[in-house]
Subunit: 377 residues, 2 copies
């Protein structure tokens, strides 16, 4: 691994700020526009929409808050259920909880690392029924209001199949595209298959604003409501303070949006570098038949946000030994998240059987993935 | 007014970034530490604690999220009631709603612009009863779980009296000190009278981080829980992703904390400048017997965050004409917030009679208050 990273000590993912980052942030400070209104907020929204092809992008304080608001906007109500992958970062489940709803866990597909659409289809045929326009979990009696695929490490879920499944069951589709800015299925960007999608710009993401996120959508009304709900629902007036609904302060400060604008200019370079890094790792590990670099599926283009080493089933029991040895050697590696079904606060939630997710969780090791590692940046 | 502001066009409140703001932010970008872990987050927390005298400060994404978490930590549960002033920014009520609880509105005191402790005491004697250790609203049957005074424009509420009242009724006390960094009662900083207090560093505040807030408290366990709950409840481990409760991503990025550290160094200067500005306005308006500059109460030291002109009752009907004329002349003035009891989503909530808050809302005009207006910065 060190033959690729070229360094005795290397992090899992570090951002690169050698473009216009400082210049844009300096401009915010020089002009005094650091807070939630400002030119960079508008510009970042416009450029995110342009890049992804969405009609609208609404920037927010982070991915969790973005997903919470997105779920509320597609109609998820307290006491309802939302289908999410068992194999995801805890934020996906927390966003559901923040709506007062319950996560309902879905198994993964080994070829995408994401939600298994065929298995979910079979499962819904067994556990769900249509009552009028509504999909009901027969066991709990609760409405299944939405499904949230998450594009793991930037590898796209099989969205065309999921779009069809969600429509058939009349379940709203919202994409957790926190990890997949720059990932495409054909010529359509991830996050653009559902009613809306969420992006994240946390410090470890391919493009960062320090902390931040965005909701992307083609739905004019939804975008307008997203902006209103995330900015305290203030009704425009020259001086009056009138707010017309319970709402959030989930704004992204202009200072952070400035960083985002500079980072977005460099996304092409980051993507190229990460693709190159995958090749280098694949080569470096090509002599070891027990491991392989996880590669993008045909018809998709992954952003390769985190490099993913898959252990063969017969060496899965060595995962922790490898993690220990590599971290001790200064090469920061990580396992995938503990399955959400194993966390104390989500253990009692509804779940389909998750044999594939359990298997994947034992076999995934993420490798150092910073874009600067190829030396190209 | 223009004789004080010395400018044909002036905002209500603009930040000043002529100190170390750029240097500290540049360091974040140069070192790559822009996100939720970093030296400036720790330093800002340490320096906020030192300045306010609190044992702990936990920085968060903004004041609303800080207040929501603070309320949860003192035990506010869904379906309960929280006493808050009718005269406040909508965030105070939204934070209560985000806990699933109901705001219950309290009248204001003309001498502090904050919650009227004596009137609240009389009111609670009429509407509340103690059932065991719990204060119950006799009309709704709901528990009154907490009371949240807000220090309007930096003028402290009568906290010693409120501490006594809250203890007598066994109601938790949490301070909304969003506007009062630098405001003291005797030698105790606002936000330090309740179990915990919340500060805000929004763009218009006396010290800004772009967007941000903090929870301050002397309670070790509460501080630890506040940090845990606002950082996804991740349990520390070399590589494992284990989270032990439903939690939030309410972190303040290091980039924003860096701005905060630089701003905090200049707080003394801002406070002096704002005090001077009050004197200049008071002088400029001294010939007009129908108005007066709102001044700090004896025994307290206000930060004079927003300069406040009080119209005499007989000219209150001219408020809108004054707002219109001053804004048209480029001098940005503002009324106080619409009473929370008049907003559609809070209209049906419980409220004591609010004659004083209604009267104040008709008579308050905030004047341009930027610290640089005195020319001293």
């Amino acid at each position: 691994m060190q033959s690729v990273t070229n360094s005795p000590k290397v992090a899992l993912h570090e951002p690169s700020f050698t473009g216009n980052e400082l210049a844009y942030v300096k401009e915010c400070i020089d002009t005094g526009w650091v807070s939630s209104v400002g030119g960079y907020v508008d510009r970042f929204e416009r450029e995110l929409a342009e890049y992804t092809g969405a009609r609208h992008a609404v920037v927010v304080s982070n991915g969790t808050s973005g997903l919470q608001v997105a779920l509320q906007l597609v109609g998820v109500k307290p006491g309802e259920e939302v289908l999410i992958p068992a194999l995801s970062f805890v934020a996906t489940a927390n966003a559901v909880s923040h709506c007062g709803a319950y996560p309902h866990f879905v198994d993964s597909e080994a070829t995408t690392l994401g939600l298994d659409v065929a298995a979910l289809s079979d499962y819904l045929d067994r556990v769900a029924e249509s009552v009028g326009d509504v999909c009901i979990n027969k066991r709990t009696g609760r409405r299944i209001a939405a499904v949230v695929p998450m594009h793991t490490f930037g590898h796209p879920v099989d969205m065309p199949a999921l779009v069809e499944l969600a429509a058939r069951h009349r379940i709203a589709l919202v994409e957790d595209a926190a990890e997949s800015l720059g990932s495409w299925i054909g010529d359509r960007h991830t996050g653009r298959f559902g009613r809306c999608g969420m992006l994240s710009f946390n410090g470890n993401k391919i493009v960062t604003t320090g902390g931040g996120g965005a909701i992307i959508t083609d739905d004019d009304a939804l975008a307008k409501r997203a902006k209103h709900l995330t900015t305290t629902a203030k009704v425009p007036h020259a001086w009056e303070f009138f707010h017309d609904e319970v709402a959030y302060n989930y704004r992204m400060p202009n200072l952070n949006a400035a960083l985002g604008c500079a980072q977005l200019e460099r996304l092409g370079g980051f993507l190229g570098s990460k693709r190159k890094l995958t090749e280098l790792y694949a080569q470096a590990f090509s002599d070891l038949p027990q491991v392989r670099l996880f590669a993008e599926r045909q018809g998709t283009r992954a952003n390769y946000w985190l490099q993913t080493l898959m252990l063969a089933p017969e060496v899965a029991d060595q995962r922790d030994a490898i993690l220990k040895a590599t971290n001790a050697a200064g090469q920061m590696t990580r396992p995938v998240w503990n399955l959400l079904t194993t966390l104390p606060m989500y253990m009692a939630c509804e779940s389909m059987p998750t044999p594939v997710a359990q298997d994947l969780a034992r076999r995934i090791i993420n490798l150092p993935s910073s874009p600067h590692l190829t030396g190209a940046l």
